[in-house]
């Protein structure tokens, strides 16, 4: 055990002098992750705000036939753009397909006739559904047009002495019960993803350096000829990797706690509830991932024969713990005791709880921590077994 400490101390020192390790521990997670996050959120904010408040300029074909519609749309901030040069539906479709326009509104040529006669006056919205920018604009235009149609219909009914309620027996209202903190989970759900990734990156090069790197440098054989058991040797190495992962976690949490203060989350109708307490909680929840990830990465790196091979495989391995997160967000999973047995998923759910400012059940927290630690122990034991095989020397 004392020798494991010697190994751990040496690996900490050795890797503190390695630029690659320092970059991935001190820079990748703590700097890159919050930066990426801030950019994502800023884009989301600016897009949301822009589409809600800004005047929407849309090429509208045949608007001269409908002056009232024109002023109605104008009042709702939808303005016909001048000089769009589009003649007909084909032109418009081509322009949208080419990405020159996000949305074109086209009134049929006989719009005016039908408008007075039979209600078959047709308005076509031309857009590309795969264009994410178009989505909110199309919705806005559609809502405005529908409102105009409905309003006019109601007036016509009244003119004939019929109550509009006759043709509209039902009203649909929205009643959103989400809290600002709850809404922020959509975006902040990605936070766990970044935290996990930052942790794994923090230990990435250590896991390689202490196994495949040691073999490639030819320092493994003399090391194995010193009176340290392979179990102690591996324990020391995995402990060093865990410590770097924890360091990366702490730094990343600090960076996020600071960065989220400056992000315009409230403009999105969300509260940035990620304070110091939440950060401390997230540390407690995520800490067991360190030995788990260290054991997993050390185990995989032990199979590889060179630094490069290890890099390739570990690149895939660090995506592994993020898989449950993808499922969780797709299936909208809520925390439950059985799910606490799944490493990374349980941590994700618990951190999400923290962000929602909901209490974290101690029972769930302990199951999550214990199962993750147990799995770490299992993986570590397999890695140690592997090191007892001489095929390891290659």
């Amino acid at each position: 055990m004392k020798l494991a400490l010697v190994v751990c101390r040496k690996e900490l020192l050795d890797n503190a002098r390695d630029r690659r390790t320092l970059f991935s521990t001190l820079l990748f997670g703590p700097l890159f992750a919050p930066l990426l996050f801030a950019v994502l959120i800023n884009v989301a904010v600016s897009r949301n705000l822009a589409s809600l408040e800004e005047a929407l300029e849309v090429p509208i074909l045949g608007l001269e036939q409908a002056e009232n519609l024109s002023s109605f749309l104008h009042a709702r901030g939808i303005r016909p753009s001048a000089d769009h040069g589009l003649q007909d539906l084909q032109d418009a479709a081509a322009a949208v397909r080419a990405g020159e326009q996000d949305l074109v509104i086209a009134l049929d040529e006989d719009f005016a006739e039908h408008f007075v006669d039979d209600g078959l006056a047709r308005v076509t919205l031309i857009y590309d559904q795969s264009n994410s920018r178009a989505g909110s604009r199309v919705q806005r235009a559609r809502r405005a047009l529908a409102a105009y149609s409905e309003q006019l219909g109601a007036l016509r009914l009244l003119a004939r002495g019929i109550h509009p309620g006759v043709v509209r027996p039902m009203t649909v209202d929205d009643y959103d019960v989400s809290t600002p903190a709850g809404r922020s989970t959509l975006l902040l759900g990605m936070l766990t993803y970044f935290l996990l990734l930052a942790m794994l990156m923090g230990g990435f090069y250590l896991a390689i350096d202490t196994t495949a790197g040691e073999r490639e440098r030819k320092s493994l054989e003399p090391l194995l000829a010193t009176p340290i058991s392979r179990a102690s040797l591996l324990l020391g190495k995995m402990a060093a990797t865990s410590l770097y992962m924890l360091l990366s976690l702490v730094l990343t949490l600090c960076a996020f706690t600071i960065a989220l203060r400056f992000l315009p989350l409230d403009e999105l109708g969300m509260s940035s509830s990620f304070g110091v307490l939440a950060a401390l909680g997230a540390f407690v929840v995520l800490a067991p991932i360190a030995p788990f990830g260290a054991a997993l990465m050390t185990l995989v790196a032990s199979f590889t024969r060179s630094y490069k091979e290890a890099q390739t495989y570990l690149g895939l391995v660090i995506l592994l713990p993020t898989l449950p997160l993808v499922f969780a967000s797709l299936l909208n999973v809520t925390p439950s005791l059985p799910l606490m047995w799944v490493p990374s998923l349980s941590q994700h759910l618990l951190v999400t709880n923290l962000i929602r400012q909901e209490p974290v059940a101690i029972g769930m927290l302990s199951v999550s921590a214990l199962s993750t630690l147990a799995l770490a122990g299992l993986l570590g034991a397999v890695a140690i077994r592997l090191y007892k095989r001489e095929a390891l020397l290659g």
């Binding site: 004392k2 020798l3 010697v6 190994v7 040496k10 020192l13 050795d14 890797n15 002098r17 390695d18 440098r217 030819k218 320092s219 493994l220 054989e221 003399p222 090391l223 194995l224 000829a225 010193t226 009176p227 340290i228 058991s229 001489e390 020397l393």
Partner: protein, 241 residues
């Protein structure tokens, strides 16, 4: 004394050792000679308890390296082929790491380090990172690292490969000094001159078997009128069908 008896080892379908037996006495330098792939390194790796033999026994100072590797590792030091130092650590840190792995106390380790630095003339490089050391400097540091726990037995795998004339001379001088202190030294090589200049006893192995052994004098008697290189070629040729 280092004793190997009826040692066999396979790597997959390849037979690396086919029943080698030999002894290396204390206070002497024993040279393990053989062409590439003869099984020299495999012998040394089994002795350093990194590999396990398929059958046969290997003992160092009476300790069975297969049955009790931890005890054996306390009494031998290993100079591996290519040194295997940590480039980010200084020479001192590299040596101290092995001292700590041997369980040496802080004070004893510091005294031993000072002694090794003086004897191996490491003063100029001891606090520099090993990255960028010359082959000679690397070998020196690796030798100091192998000697840090004052082992009675020393196993060296091709120690002179890649050394220039001066460094090779220096190394030979230290090995002779260690021999004079009563250490048991087993070194492998395929360079005749090194072995001729150093070894008290010769072991020529080829194809995983012992082809010839004895002192240089006794070998010269057995193969009259031939120099060491000719003896080597003849012995190796006899062992290979």
């Amino acid at each position: 004394m280092i004793q190997i008896s009826q040692l066999t080892k396979h790597f997959g379908d390849v037979q690396a050792l086919g029943g080698v037996s030999f002894e290396a006495a204390s206070g002497r330098i024993t040279g393990l000679l053989g062409p590439n792939g003869a099984g020299k390194s495999t012998c040394l790796r089994i002795l350093s308890s990194v590999l396990r033999p398929d059958s046969g026994s290997a003992r160092i100072g009476g300790v069975d390296v297969v049955a009790d590797p931890l005890a054996a590792r306390r009494i031998f030091g290993v100079l591996p082929h290519g040194a295997g130092l940590y480039p980010h650590l200084t020479a001192r840190e590299n040596i101290a790491y092995y001292g700590q792995l041997h369980g040496m106390k802080r004070g004893a380790l510091a005294a031993r380090l000072a002694d090794l630095i003086e004897r191996l003339n490491l003063g100029a490089i001891v606090d520099r990172k090993c990255q960028g050391f010359s082959q000679g400097e690397r070998t020196k540091v690796a030798l100091a690292r192998a000697l840090v726990h004052e082992p009675e037995y020393l196993l060296l795998d091709e120690p002179t490969t890649g050394l220039d004339v001066m460094a090779a001379r220096e190394l030979r001088a230290w090995l002779k000094e260690l021999k004079a202190r009563g250490n048991c030294i087993l070194l492998s090589s395929h360079v005749m001159q090194d072995v001729a200049a150093l070894a008290d006893d010769l072991l020529i192995i080829a194809g995983g078997k012992l082809a010839a052994s004895g002192t240089p004098e006794s070998l010269a008697e057995a193969y009259p009128g031939r120099d060491l290189e000719e003896i080597f070629i003849e012995a190796v040729g006899l062992a290979q069908p």
